[in-house]
């Protein structure tokens, strides 16, 4: 009597099933006659040549089987296809887009359909599932590194140039770069100002308990107000102030644009920065301060030799939250004329131009993820080994 196979790994199973949905029901690529025409979904079989879809089926089929059978331990060799798959998929997407466009009208566009996005999520789940069951040798990360390098190469080589998002980017290259720089400036400046004000405030609040509740009460309210509302609240008062004091106008301050954006974003970033500065100093064990004082450190020495190194990782993670949050809110600031990547999002929404929306949204997401990763690295570096 045949025994039902026992499911060994639910995560692997789920990932494989999710990966296989690319066959049905989700469209793989989307074809549009021009940039604002309604899209027409292309299934995997319509979009890519047979070796590609066969390969994809075999790939997911293998891991589907693998979730029922085989050893508990994932071998390094099995990691290789999983690590290389995302870049291969992107490569195929690029090839197919070029192929489809070569047979279409000049203004036609091809973009990635839900199938591609879901495949990428499935690859992510697959990799997490596989890596939670590999050995601990350093060699296991080689496939991942190669895969990441390959993905970067696919992105950088122009392989994806016929995807509509990339087409849009190429067409607006100069504007894109200037808005990206703009975005970075607004985010950087607001977080910088907020750090200058917030770190000392956090320290004061740490030393003076009576200020603590009031400060956090106010900052919490500021954080609660929707970003768009906070921008809006600043516009009219600023305009009046600038009319009343012409000097401000000469200094380059305006009722809309950068001025309210920077003010609002600086206020927004205050809560995480002040809170984490306070939490960082509060995390310094009282016996450390006592030992330091007992050894004859003065206030400044105690601060720089003991308290700050101890508080720094927590303080930096506040900065990280503030930065990630402000990258997003800077996109909203495009609505009040401050520029940044949000310009493309809202222009795109206004024109129903989906590629333009994506041109703003995708880089904003990548920027936030990148800033986050950068700060995580920084926090690791700033955490002394004794505290890890």
């Amino acid at each position: 009597m045949p025994v039902l196979p026992r499911l060994r790994s639910k995560v692997l199973f789920l990932g494989s099933i999710l990966g296989l949905t690319v066959l049905w029901p989700f469209a793989f690529l989307i074809f549009r006659a021009n940039r604002i025409a309604p899209g027409e979904g292309l299934s995997l079989f319509q979009a890519v040549p047979w070796p590609a879809w066969l390969g994809l089926i075999l790939f997911w089929g293998y891991f589907l089987l693998r979730s029922f059978a085989g050893s508990e331990r994932i071998r390094t060799l099995e990691l290789v296809p999983a690590a290389l798959a995302p870049s291969c998929l992107l490569f195929i997407v690029g090839e197919s887009a070029t192929e489809i466009l070569s047979q279409a009208q000049p203004y036609a566009r091809v973009s990635m359909g839900p199938g591609v996005w879901i495949s990428l999520i499935a690859f992510f789940i697959l990799l997490v599932a596989l890596y939670s069951r590999t050995g601990s040798g350093r060699g296991v990360y080689i496939p991942l590194g190669v895969g990441a390098a390959l993905a970067l190469w696919v992105l950088a080589s122009g392989q994806l140039k016929d995807l509509s998002l990339v087409t849009e980017l190429i067409q607006r290259r100069e504007r894109f770069v200037s808005e990206l720089v703009n975005h970075l400036w607004i985010t950087g400046l607001s977080v910088g100002l907020s750090t200058l004000a917030g770190v000392p405030l956090g320290f004061i609040v740490f030393r003076r308990a009576w200020l603590r509740d009031k400060t956090f009460y106010i900052l919490n309210i500021v954080q609660t107000i929707p970003s768009l509302a906070l921008f809006g609240l600043l516009i009219a008062p600023l305009a009046m102030l600038i009319t009343a004091v012409p000097l401000l106008k000469e200094l380059g301050l305006r009722g809309i644009g950068w001025t309210p954006a920077i003010i609002a974003l600086t206020l927004y970033a205050m809560l995480p920065i002040v809170r984490n500065t306070y939490a960082g100093f509060a995390a310094v064990e009282p016996e450390l301060a006592e030992a330091g004082r007992g050894m004859g450190m003065n206030r400044v020495q105690l601060l720089f030799l003991v308290e700050l190194p101890r508080a720094l990782p927590i303080l930096l993670s506040g900065l990280r939250i503030a930065c990630v949050q402000n990258v997003g809110n800077t996109a909203v600031a495009a609505l009040i004329g401050a520029g940044g990547l949000g310009v493309f999002i809202f222009q795109g929404l206004g024109q129903s131009a989906l590629d333009l929306i994506m041109l703003g949204a995708v880089p904003t997401i990548l920027l936030a993820v990148g800033v986050d990763a950068l700060f995580q690295l920084l926090i690791r570096l700033a955490t002394p080994r004794g505290l890890r």
Binding site: S9, K10, V11, L14, S111, P114, F124, I125, V128, A129, S132, K214, Y217, N220, I221, Q223, T224, I225, P226, S227, L228, A229, L230, F231, G232, L233, I235, A236, A239, M240, V324, Q325, V327, G328, N329, A331, V332, L335, I336, G342, I345, F346, G348, L349, S352, L354, I357, M358, G360, A361, V362, T364, I365, A368, V369, V371, D372
Partner: protein, 248 residues
């Protein structure tokens, strides 16, 4: 003490009253804004009554946050049970990755997928609102120590009884904080929903920006700001009422 009392009095009575007044009567706005903008022709946003925008806004947030709470706590409970524990690393990494995605970008990306209007807003709000709830449910439940599990088991509680009588009460304040964060973010993101035609309190702001009417902007901004503060304060009260006193 008196500051606290004044604050809670303000939250309890004054702010809701002010909010109610501002959405029910246009003449209040006339009185408030006319001195500031004597030459403005349209002083009060009139294409839809303000209270209707509030209802739209509240509806979007309520629907998406309710869904997110149900799904998010369920998911959080699932991945902390022995059956679902296998999914914990995947869910954790998806959640921490997803939380770095800016809400406005998530909202924007959902348009190409679903289209304009109410539906993509709800989907984006739901997806984004899931993250803090899942994360806090997991960390709340995981913070219940092994000795407590052992004690519960030793007293003969079943797994379900342990969950509802021990783990959930202990984790409740963390879970509630996650829901509150989620709701506040959703209120903010729903404001931007006005740009994709979802209605709500962002509408006067966008209209004001487009027609260069600072009074419209102020109305939308004041109302959506007040709305967020009120909901946050209300949830704060609910949270304190729901959490066992030992946690205070």
């Amino acid at each position: 003490m008196s500051v606290k009392q004044a604050q809670s009095l303000g939250k309890l009575i004054l702010l809701p009253a002010l909010f109610g007044l501002l959405i029910s009567s246009t003449s209040v706005w006339e009185i408030l804004l006319r001195p500031a903008f004597p030459h403005l022709e349209n002083l009060v946003y009139s294409r839809a009554p303000l209270w209707e925008l509030v209802v739209q806004h509240a509806n979007m947030v309520a629907v998406s946050s309710t869904l997110a709470t149900l799904v998010g706590t369920g998911l959080g409970v699932f991945v902390t049970r022995s059956r679902g524990r296998e999914f914990l690393p995947v869910v954790n990494s998806l959640v921490s990755m997803g939380q770095t995605f800016p809400p406005v970008a998530v909202l924007a990306v959902s348009v190409p997928m679903v289209g304009f209007g109410y539906k993509p807003t709800i989907i984006a709000l739901f997806l984004y609102g899931l993250l803090p709830i899942v994360r806090n449910t997991i960390s709340g439940l995981e913070s219940v120590g092994p000795e407590i599990h052992e004690a519960a088991q030793g007293m003969g509680l079943t797994a379900v009884q342990t969950l509802f009588r021990v783990e959930v009460p202990l984790a409740l304040h963390v879970i509630m904080a996650g829901i509150r964060t989620s709701v506040v973010i959703n209120i903010g993101t729903a404001t931007i929903g006005a740009t994709i035609g979802a209605g709500g309190l962002g509408v006067p702001i966008i209209a004001g920006l487009n027609s260069d009417n600072p009074a419209f902007i102020l109305q939308g901004a004041v109302l959506s700001g007040l709305f967020a503060i009120l909901v946050d304060a209300g949830m704060n009260r609910a949270e304190r009422g729901a959490v066992p006193s030992a946690q205070e």
